[in-house]
C-alpha cells in the first residue's frame, strides 16, 4: 500500500518533513498521556510530592499497585469482567452464527420477515427503562446474567458474519446438503471452519465491548460482590475526585497519593487490551473494512 503511489523517484521535499513533524507531534499527543499514566503509577508518594512534573520516576516503586490490590474492589472487577467474557463470548458466537447461517440459507418461508424485524431493531429500540423492567421481571437484576444476556447478541456483528457466510460458494452447502448432511453439521463442519477470519474479528469486537462494559453494569448490577472492571475503575477515580473537590490544599499529601493508585487502576484496566492489541490489530482493521463496505 505504501509504495503504490510511485512517488519513489521524487526527492524528499520540504512537505515531507512538514508531514513527518506534524504526524509525529500528533503521535506524541497520543503517547505522552499514556507515558504520564505509567510514570505516575510507578512513582512513589515522596517523589510525586517533590514535583508533579513526572516524566519518569527516578526510583520506580510498586507501592501504588500494592495498595490497589489490597483493595478488594479491583479483584471483584476482574472476576466480574472475566465472567462476562467467559459466558458472553460463547453466547454471542452461538447466537450470531446460527442466525447468520439461517439467514444465508435462502428459500425457507419467513426469512424475509425475520430479516426485516431484525434490521428494525438496529434503528429502533425500547430504551433502557423497559429493558430494566424486563430484567427485573426475569429476576436478573443484580446478577451478571442481566449484562451477559443484554449483550448476548449484537445485530451489527451478526450482519458482519452474515455477509461473510453469504460470500462463501453456495455449491459447497448445496452439495453437502445433497450428501445428506443436516444443517447443524454443515454449519459446524463446513461453514465455520471456512469463516475463521470473520469469527476472529467478531470475537475481538465482542471481547472489547464486554471488557469496556460499564453502563448496563451500573444500572443492572448494584451489588458489592459483582462489579465490572470499568465500574470499579470509575468508582476509584471518581469517588476520590469528589473528595478532591471538597478537600483543601492542606490535604495535598493524601491527595497525591491517591493519584498514584488511580493511575495504577487505569493501568490494571488497560494493560490487557494493550497487550492483545498489537497482535490483533489486523483483525480489527479487517473488521471495520468489511463493515464499511457493507454498512
Amino acid at each position: 500500500m505504501a509504495a503504490k503511489h510511485k512517488f519513489g523517484k521524487e526527492r524528499f521535499e520540504a512537505m515531507d518533513w512538514v508531514l513527518i513533524i506534524l504526524l509525529t507531534a500528533g503521535m506524541l499527543c497520543i503517547l505522552v498521556p499514556f507515558f504520564n499514566v505509567i510514570a505516575i503509577s510507578f512513582t512513589s508518594y515522596k517523589e510525586y510530592m517533590q514535583s508533579t512534573w513526572v516524566l519518569w520516576p527516578k526510583e520506580p516503586t510498586l507501592d501504588a499497585y500494592e495498595q490497589l490490590f489490597k483493595d478488594n474492589r479491583i479483584l471483584v472487577g476482574y472476576k466480574t469482567t472475566l465472567c462476562y467474557l467467559l459466558f458472553g463470548l460463547p453466547i454471542n458466537l452461538i447466537l450470531c452464527s446460527t442466525l447468520a447461517y439461517a439467514l444465508c440459507r435462502k428459500g425457507w418461508p419467513g426469512r424475509k420477515l425475520i430479516f426485516m424485524l431484525i434490521l428494525f431493531t438496529m434503528i429502533f429500540n425500547g430504551g433502557i427503562v423497559p429493558l430494566y423492567l424486563v430484567m427485573k421481571d426475569l429476576g436478573l437484576t443484580n446478577t451478571i446474567w442481566a449484562i451477559i444476556f443484554a449483550q448476548g447478541l449484537n445485530t451489527f456483528n451478526m450482519i458482519l458474519i452474515y455477509n461473510y457466510f453469504c460470500s462463501l460458494p453456495e455449491a459447497l452447502i448445496e452439495s453437502a446438503n445433497l450428501d445428506g448432511a443436516d444443517e447443524w453439521t454443515i454449519l459446524v463442519r463446513i461453514v465455520l471452519p471456512l469463516s475463521k477470519p470473520i469469527l476472529a474479528t467478531v470475537v475481538l469486537f465482542v471481547a472489547v465491548q464486554l471488557w469496556n462494559e460499564y453502563f448496563q453494569s451500573m444500572i443492572f448490577l448494584r451489588s458489592n460482590d459483582w462489579q465490572s472492571l470499568q465500574q470499579v475503575l470509575r468508582s476509584i477515580v471518581m469517588d476520590s475526585q469528589v473528595v478532591d473537590d471538597s478537600t483543601i490544599m492542606s490535604d495535598i499529601g493524601e491527595r497525591n497519593f491517591t493519584n498514584g493508585i488511580k493511575m495504577a487502576a487505569v493501568m490494571a484496566t488497560m494493560i490487557p487490551i494493550m497487550c492483545v492489541y498489537p497482535f490483533l490489530q489486523k483483525y480489527f482493521t479487517k473488521g471495520i473494512m468489511i463493515g464499511a463496505i457493507k454498512a
Partner: protein
Amino acid sequence: MAATAKTEKVVTAAQATGLQKVAINMRKYWQIYILIIPAVVWYIIFAYYPMAGLQLAFKTYKAKIGIWGSPWCGFQNFEAVFRDVYFWRSVGRTLVINLGRLVINFPAPILLALMLNELRVGRYKKVMQTIFTFPHFLSWVIVASIMTNLLSVDGLVNSALGAMGLDSVNFLGSEVLFQPMLYITDIWKSAGYSSIIYLSAISGIDQDQYEAAEIDGATRWQRIWHVTLPNILPTVSVLFIMTTGGLMTAGFDQIFNLSNAATKNVAEVLDMYIYRITFTASTDFGFSTAVSLFRSIINMTLLVIANKGSKMMGGTGLFG
C-alpha cells in the same frame, strides 16, 4: 357469471399450491427453524418485549402492578415532558454539541488519512497507524481518567504551562472549556480509527489517475486536490449523512465520564437528561419512557432520512 366463477376457482387453486409450496418448504427446511430458535427467543425477550414496554410512555407507572397493569394516561407524560424547560435545554445542547462535532470532529479523520497517505516512510507509517488507532479500543472511563490526570490542576499540561510561566488552566472544571474539551478528547480517541475507512477508500483509487496527473505535471497539492479528494468524496458524503443521522445522540459515555460537579450545567445533553430523570432524580418511569420514546422516534426518523440521502448520493445506505 360462469366466467367469474371459473377465474375464482383458478385463483384458489393457485393459492392452494402457493400454500402447499410454503408447507413443503417449511418441511424441507425444518432444521433451519430449530437453528434460529435461540436467536429469535433472544430478539423477542431482549428487543421486542422491551419495545412493548414503551407503552409506559402513555401510562402512569405503578411499580406494584407492573407495566401491563398500570393505568393509561394518554399524552399526559408527553405534555409534562414538553413543559419541562430542562428537557428543551438538553435538546438544544445536544444539537449545538453535535453541530460542533460535525464541523470539528468529522473532518479530522479525513485530514489524518490524507496526511498518512502522503507520508512516504512506509514502516513509520505502520507504527503511526497502530498508535493512532489504539485509543479507540479503550472505554471512555479509561480515557476520561487519563485526561483527568493529564489536565488536572497539578497534571502534566499545567506543570508545563507553569514551567513556561503561564497561569494554570482548569481544563475539565470550566463551563466555557467543556465543549472544546469534548471535541479534543473525541479527536484524541477516535480520529485514528475513523481514518481507516478513508485510508481504505484512498488505497482503492485507480493508480492510472495518479500517473496521468504526474505526466500532466501536476504538483502534489494538485494531485491531492484533483485526484485523491474527488475519489473519496462518495465515502465522505455517505459518512457525513450517516453522522447527521445521529444528531440527537451526543455520546453519553464521553459526556457522562468527562463531566463533573463543576460542569454539570453545560453537560446535560438529552441522554444525560434521560439518565438523570430515570436513575437519579425521580423514579417516574412513565415520564422518562416518554422522553426516551421521543428520542428514539427522532433518531429513527433522522436515520431513515439519512439512509435515503446516502442512497441518493450513490452510496449503499445502512442496510446494503
